[in-house]
């Protein structure tokens, strides 16, 4: 288990390999479809962005509302590939270093990760109650009008992750599937 803290730099990212177990602590930002679209539109229009992404990690999550006395509701990862059209720009132009989600990424995202040394982490999909326990603080910092799709600033402690795709383009999904594949030759 590798313990790392945010923000990330290229040296930390360089040492993470696909399949590594990571325990992440520090501040991360949330963002999903609507926030990504708005960030990219604002950047393209030359406007100021509501958050600074340099060295940051974005968690693809739209949490449930917090119950009274709780920090946040259920908060597991959403499917990352929907963010793929926006991600290369966030990595190349805005300095994003890490992403937390679930599922495959496009080749364009992987190329940007390799060029700029960024990492893609996986959190356990559908384990929202389990993951929410590791979130110690949550506040909306941008786009509150998007409801669950707003950008939150989260403080996490020992957030359990797996390196899904590393900055060399190695992919744990491909390797894991290959290892356990037993298809009959006629299928």
């Amino acid at each position: 288990m590798t313990e790392i803290k945010t923000p990330l730099d290229s040296e930390v990212v360089d040492n993470l390999k696909a399949g590594d177990r990571v325990s992440l602590s520090g501040v991360i930002l949330t963002g999903r479809d609507a926030a990504h679209k708005s960030l990219v539109e604002a950047y393209t229009a030359g406007q100021d962005l509501p958050v600074d992404l340099r060295g940051q990690v974005i968690y693809y999550v739209g949490p449930c509302p917090a119950k009274p006395g709780k920090v946040i509701g259920s908060a597991g990862p959403t499917t990352s590939t929907r963010m793929d059209p926006y991600t290369p720009l966030l990595i190349r132009e805005l300095g994003l270093k890490g992403m937390i989600g679930k599922g495959n990424r496009s080749q364009q995202v992987i190329e940007a990760m390799k060029e700029e040394k960024a990492v893609y982490f996986l959190a356990v999909g559908g384990a929202g109650a389990y993951l929410a326990k590791r979130i110690k603080k949550a506040e909306v910092v941008a786009y509150p009008e998007f409801g669950p799709e707003a950008i939150y600033r989260l403080e996490v402690s020992d957030f359990p992750l797996i390196v899904g795709i590393d900055c060399y383009g190695r992919n744990i999904y491909e390797e894991g599937k290959k290892k356990y594949r037993r298809m009959p030759s006629n299928a």
Binding site: G73, S74, T78, G126, G128, A129, G176, K178
Partner: protein, 280 residues
């Protein structure tokens, strides 16, 4: 003629929304234990254990199992001898969904216009399917459906000549295409026959059947077993990280079809196979 008050329907739907999003059925707990004992990959086994721990935590704290508490899909089996009083049936269901998603602190995940995409703010409207059945009961099933697995679903109008092999191939293609995106281990609902919309509805209904239960038609039951075995040979595994357990089960529902048609719909369900029901 039995009378059922619309307010009562609202109350029941409200509670079912919360129950479905926080508690899984007995069949699920059996299926996850079986999956843990069958999984060969140590990482896969660990993922299944976390999934189980998460479900335990949700049931004991009342937190949602998954933050994607879905669109509320509501099946109503309405006895033909029932009369609804004091309001409109659809309004009563939507009011129940509205209250349930507030009461349970569940996420509001519905946008009004598919292109303009403004959140309706209360998770309505629900997707409501009504079947008129004999008798004087109203059976209500609430099945919240998240988008990760729903987006992984597909439908194809096969040729009759494609036959069983064609069905098998299409289900496998659909599963392989989604891989880790649908939060495996998944449940695979297949609708076979009917026409375009009938097959899709059958696939959705197939997800409501208890895990481990087979279709009563022997050759369809056999096809379920065959598909399950093949899907579990793909290597996708729990969370797509590699392993033996890609699916918890495969359920196929069938309906007569046209002499020229073989529609097949595949509705993928993530591991959080949520549904709750009540009878009024």
């Amino acid at each position: 003629m039995k009378e059922i008050c619309a307010d009562e329907i609202t109350k029941v739907v409200e509670n079912l929304c919360v129950d479905a999003c926080t508690k899984l059925g007995k069949d699920w707990w059996q299926a996850i234990d079986d999956a843990i004992s069958h999984e060969e990959s140590p990482l896969g086994k660990e993922m299944l254990q976390i999934i189980k721990e998460n479900a335990d935590l949700a049931a004991s704290t009342g937190e949602a199992i998954c933050q994607d508490t879905g669109m509320a899909v509501v099946f109503l089996e309405l006895g033909q001898d029932v009369r609804i009083t004091g309001g409109n049936l659809y309004d009563a269901v939507n009011e129940g969904v509205r209250r349930g998603y507030v009461k349970g602190y569940l996420r509001k995940s519905v946008v009004e216009d598919p292109l303009m995409r403004e959140n309706t703010g209360d998770n309505t409207p629900a997707i409501i399917h009504v079947d008129i059945v004999p008798g004087s009961d109203l059976r209500i099933i609430v099945a919240p459906k998240g988008a990760g697995s729903e987006n992984s679903s597909a439908l194809k109008m096969l040729k009759p000549a494609d036959g069983k092999e064609g069905v098998l191939k299409f289900v496998l293609e659909t599963v392989e295409a989604t891989g880790p995106n649908a939060c495996p281990p998944m449940v695979i609902g297949v609708g076979l026959g009917g026409n375009l919309e009938k097959s899709a509805l059958l696939a959705k209904k197939a997800l409501l059947r208890p895990l481990g239960e087979r279709n009563p038609i022997p050759h369809i039951a056999q096809l379920e077993e065959e598909i399950l075995e093949l899907v579990n040979m793909t290597g996708i595994g729990p969370q797509g990280l590699g392993g033996r357990v890609t699916a918890l089960d495969v359920h196929i529902e069938v309906y007569p079809t046209h002499i020229a048609s073989l529609p097949v719909a595949v509705n993928i369900q993530c591991h959080a196979a949520r549904h709750a029901e009540a009878v009024l």
